[in-house]
């Protein structure tokens, strides 16, 4: 059993079928009160770079994309992200 925070809502989640041992601070994928996967935090960054890679391929001929990429970079700076 683990106490999980869902975007502000706290709930008990069972760990019977999770794929890996879970510790405090981990992200998990929950389904009907059961964690079905431990999501390593660095995987979120990996997802974002996968999507950015997709855009590089899809948008080679598109100037607008460069603008929006600038927008994202600016947004990051505002939030103080890396």
């Amino acid at each position: 059993m683990a106490l999980v925070d869902f975007w502000g809502v706290r709930k008990q989640v069972r760990l019977d079928v999770v794929d890996e041992p879970v510790t405090v601070g981990d992200y998990v994928l929950n389904h009907v009160g059961y964690a079905i996967r431990r999501i390593p935090a660095q995987q979120v960054e990996a997802t974002l770079s996968l999507y950015e890679e997709l855009l590089t391929v899809a948008a080679t001929d598109d100037l607008m994309a460069a603008d929006v990429r600038g927008e994202i970079a600016a947004g990051r700076r505002e939030r103080g992200d890396r």
Binding site: W7, R14, D16, V17, V18, D19, G25, Y27, L29, H31, V32, G33, Y34, I36, R37, I39, P40, A41, Q43, V44, E45, A46, T47, L48, L50, Y51, L54, L55, V57, A58, A59, D62, M64, A65, D67, V68, R69, E71, I72, G75
Partner: protein, 392 residues
């Protein structure tokens, strides 16, 4: 941890870029429509909730297939639960199941007539109910493999002696075959449900892709996940490449959650059966194995469906086109009952009941009006901005 790392997966600027990429890739195909199908109610929910449909290019048809576990639960399965409840057994189930019409009535109707029906968020709550109760408690277990693993875990963890399961669990991979082969089907690619694939692994789709020559992309449920999944799927269609691609690697691996699979197949065996509105699906139903007869409500009780035979389904039910909607042949606005006789408070068909049902989602979020085009939650940037039409 204060900030939620997943926030970035709802970032509007990134979403706009992906939405634009989707427009570009789709236009490169140069055909209208390009039809793809997702098979998950949670995908439809996210598409509606984040206004993604309004950003899809007009030429891209994103159809919801049989991905609502409540909707595809067959009427005789609901009937079994209703009969058990009427026989005095306490029935616990997920909230969505309460109003799904059976032949004569729903579980909610049975409860209104005095039967004991409990709504639970999780099967573990049904176990707690059984522990605290003297009477027999049956859990009416619905949902796909994602939900079935929870049922399996409970049955393997020594449930109380007055607890048993009426399984209406379904297994997704076989139904994709059925939908791909449906007469009139024009599906060029599938967006596979990331949560089901978390259990089964993406490798489970390889035989399907080899046999049908249709690409499958596994996608997650945040707005960026869905947009990126669609971009990749349309790219594969453009390249004419039938392959499985995993765009949800933070949750899905090739092998899946092996531990959960072991539990699943220890408890269940796949068997053929009807999915409401779709067809008989070979290996599409999950039933309890013989070794678990003791906790199988179908063997533990004599469920006499004949007690319902005197009742006929509502005459309106004949006009319901849920089957076509779940097969991806029609959209809810094509149904004469949609939003009129059939509304969430008094649903005629199962698609209007569940929060994962196509009709319910379209009713709640207003479906899609192509005239509104670019006025959705994420306005596109780039050339299409000049085409925004503001309506009175």
């Amino acid at each position: 941890m204060t900030a939620n790392a997943f926030e970035a997966l709802r970032d509007p600027a990134r979403a706009r870029m992906l939405a634009d990429a989707l427009v570009r890739v789709t236009s490169k195909i140069g055909r209208d429509p390009v039809s793809v199908m997702h098979v998950c109610g949670s995908h439809e929910q996210a598409i509606a909730r984040y206004g993604l449909r309004a950003t899809f290019p007009a030429a891209l048809e994103v159809i919801m297939g049989p991905g609502c576990p409540v909707c595809i639960t067959d009427m005789p399965e609901v009937d079994e639960a209703v009969v058990l409840a009427q026989q005095g057994v306490r029935v616990a189930t997920y909230g969505d199941m309460l109003r799904v019409p059976g032949t004569a009535m729903s579980l909610g109707d049975a409860r209104a007539r005095g039967a004991r029906v409990d709504v639970v968020y999780s099967i573990s709550q049904a176990i707690e109910l059984a522990r605290a109760a003297q009477e027999e408690v049956v859990f009416f277990a619905t949902g796909f493999e994602t939900t079935a693993v929870a049922t399996a875990a409970v049955l393997l963890a020594d449930p109380p002696p007055n607890f048993s399961v009426l399984s209406a669990h379904k297994y997704i991979p076989p139904v994709m075959e059925i939908v791909a082969e449906m007469p009139g089907a024009r599906i060029e690619g599938f967006l596979a449900a990331g949560h089901a694939a978390t259990i089964t692994g993406w490798g489970v789709f390889e035989p399907f892709v080899a046999e049908h020559g249709i690409p499958v992309v596994v996608a997650g449920f945040e707005p960026l996940d869905i947009l990126a999944g669609l971009v990749r799927l349309v790219e594969l269609i453009l390249e004419g490449r039938a392959a499985v691609e995993n765009m949800y690697p933070r949750c899905v691996t090739r092998e899946g959650n092996v531990q959960a699979q072991e539990k699943l197949w220890k408890v269940f065996r796949p068997t053929g059966g009807r999915w409401r509105g779709i067809a008989h699906v070979p290996n599409g139903n999950l039933r309890l194995r013989d070794e678990l007869a003791r906790v199988d409500a179908r063997r533990r009780f004599d469920i006499d469906l004949a007690t319902l035979w005197a009742s006929a389904p509502s005459p309106l039910a004949h006009q319901c086109i849920c089957g076509d909607i779940m097969g991806g042949i029609a959209s809810p606005d094509r149904c004469p009952l949609f939003g009129k006789e059939c509304v969430p408070d008094s649903p005629v068909g199962a698609c209007m009941v569940s929060s994962e049902g196509t009709c319910r989602i379209w009713h709640e979020y207003g479906g899609v009006d192509r005239r509104l085009g670019a006025m959705g939650a994420i306005p596109p940037t780039g050339p299409s901005r000049t085409h925004v039409k503001v309506l009175p």
